[in-house]
């Protein structure tokens, strides 16, 4: 199963696996509740979700592996994904305004019947959003990253042509930021 091998190699990215694994166990056991806390920290905890790998139930969420990591480790993770033969579905962002963070979400999937959807997330401070580009590994990410830059203003470091794609060429606004006023 490709899922297990990918899980293993992705877990290898986290140098201090012990606390992460623990958290996975608790979160997976608690299911919805834990997910809720993690996504909506305003309710109970103020901290966002810790970095790590979570295995998800496909039927409930629509993807199998959910990885959160630092922008610095992004390229290593994408490299693993690329080696395993995944294709890039999309790149997008989420604006977590209460945590002063922007999240970049990468979706990967596979062409064969060994289905495995991987979601990689990385967070970057809202004031100075910057993540490395993956368009060197996946040229298809070029447009997706440009689109994310359009909508969220996230700078993709090393992107060859980071100009507005869907918005007008002179656009200096980022409509999907939660504090955007048209």
């Amino acid at each position: 199963m490709i899922k297990d091998t990918v899980l293993q190699s992705l877990r290898g990215l986290f140098p201090d696996p012990e606390p992460v694994v623990e958290e996975i166990v608790t979160e997976a056991a608690e299911g919805d509740e834990a997910e809720g806390e993690k996504k909506k920290p305003a309710k109970k905890k103020k901290e966002p979700r810790n970095n790590g790998v979570i295995e998800h139930d496909y039927a409930q969420y629509g993807y199998d592996i959910d990885v959160q990591l630092d922008p610095g480790e992004l390229l290593a993770a994408v490299m693993i994904i690329d080696k395993a033969g995944f294709f890039l579905e999309s790149v997008t962002g989420v604006d977590w305004i209460k945590e002063e963070q922007l999240e970049v979400v990468y979706d990967f999937s596979r062409y064969d019947f060994d289905t495995c959807r991987v979601v990689i997330r990385t967070r970057t401070p809202r004031a100075k959003p910057k993540v490395p580009t993956i368009s060197k590994i996946y040229p298809g990410a070029n447009w997706h990253e440009r689109e994310t830059h359009d909508f969220f203003g996230i700078k993709f470091d090393g992107h060859p042509h980071l100009v507005p794609l869907l918005l007008p060429e002179d656009a200096d606004f980022h409509p999907l930021l939660k504090d955007f006023k048209p």
Binding site: D32, E35, G36, K39, K40, Y58, A59, Q60, Y61, G62, Y63, D66, G85, F86, F87, L88, E89, S90, T92, V94, D95, V105, D107, S109, R110, Y111, D112, F113, T115, R117, V119, Y138, P139, G140, N142, W143, H144, F151, P164, L165, L166, L167, P168, P175, L176
Partner: protein
Amino acid sequence: MSGPIHIQPGETFILNVGPQHPATHGVLRVKMEMDGEYIVKAETVLGYIHRMHELMGENRTYPQVLPNLSRLDYLGALGYTHGHVLAVERASGIEVPERAEYIRVITVELNRVASHLFWFGAFVMDLGGFTPLMYAIEDREYILDMLEAVTGSRLTYCYYRFGGLYNDIDDEFIDRARAFIPRMRKSLKKYDALVTGNIIFRKRLEGIGPISAEMCRKYGATGPVARGSGINFDVRKNEPYSVYPEFDFDVPVYDECDSLARYYVRMEEMEQSLRIIEQGLDKLPEGPIMPKKKPKLIKPPVGDYYQAVETARGSFGIRIVSDGTKNAYRFKLRSPTYSNMSLFDEACEGMMIMDALALMGSLDLVIPEIDR
């Protein structure tokens, strides 16, 4: 035909194909650097029909977004609305009655046939043959009439609801659908003889516009574009959703990687869709079309949900990040043509303009769906 290019410095010129050009089927613009008839470099410029559906998805309640999805792709709208309702149902755990799911599949497949028919006509028109478009539209009209009688609109359907359907199909629809299948099969034979066999047509497509499997993977191409490059990928089979596992159908895959392979894939897909419709009409269970207990207000629990469906153009994904309110926190649409189109810049380098436009036609573009 890609030929050797010996570019003299300063000998190239920029050709703006679009935003108003007969071959781009809408407001797409490709900035091509040309050396005579050869394309040296191409840059696609998007956004001429960008409407920010994703922001609308955040500003509106879940049911209010329903009509938006069919505005994405006006040719195969039902596939997109299907993806949306499935995503919201997955997020909020709504059970769908079996009859509703069957009707959804039947109508989606009908819409897929309609979409491919129109593509077929428009593609041949790209190559300069106008008449097949008219024949294709005649058959497509039959489907649209049928869908209009049941959904109430012809292109921008708003037919699916969270948990079921807007209204049930009647016997008239079933009779017409049954009559449609043999009629369509006959038409497909006609198209085969008129277009597929035609030497001019074949000469224009055979070996033209190669897109390798590796390129598909790197750019995330899905749907008939990927299947024309020997990739056996169809969300209906790979990640079965709805009631598709209960149907017996094949996924056409061709290894030639050229425009003709993509043509064949779509033509065969129509036949497979007819098979699905046939089986669906036979198996159609009785029962309600809406669940008994349906939440009055749709408020999915907090979380990040993803749903992929196979539309006429490829794998359409929808991501809903919910914060537990009646509006989505983030509403991401992953449109298949966006990825398919992004490989055009690389694929058309070194081609002649007429071949590049044939390649563009074979990608099956619907611009509102790229720009969203």
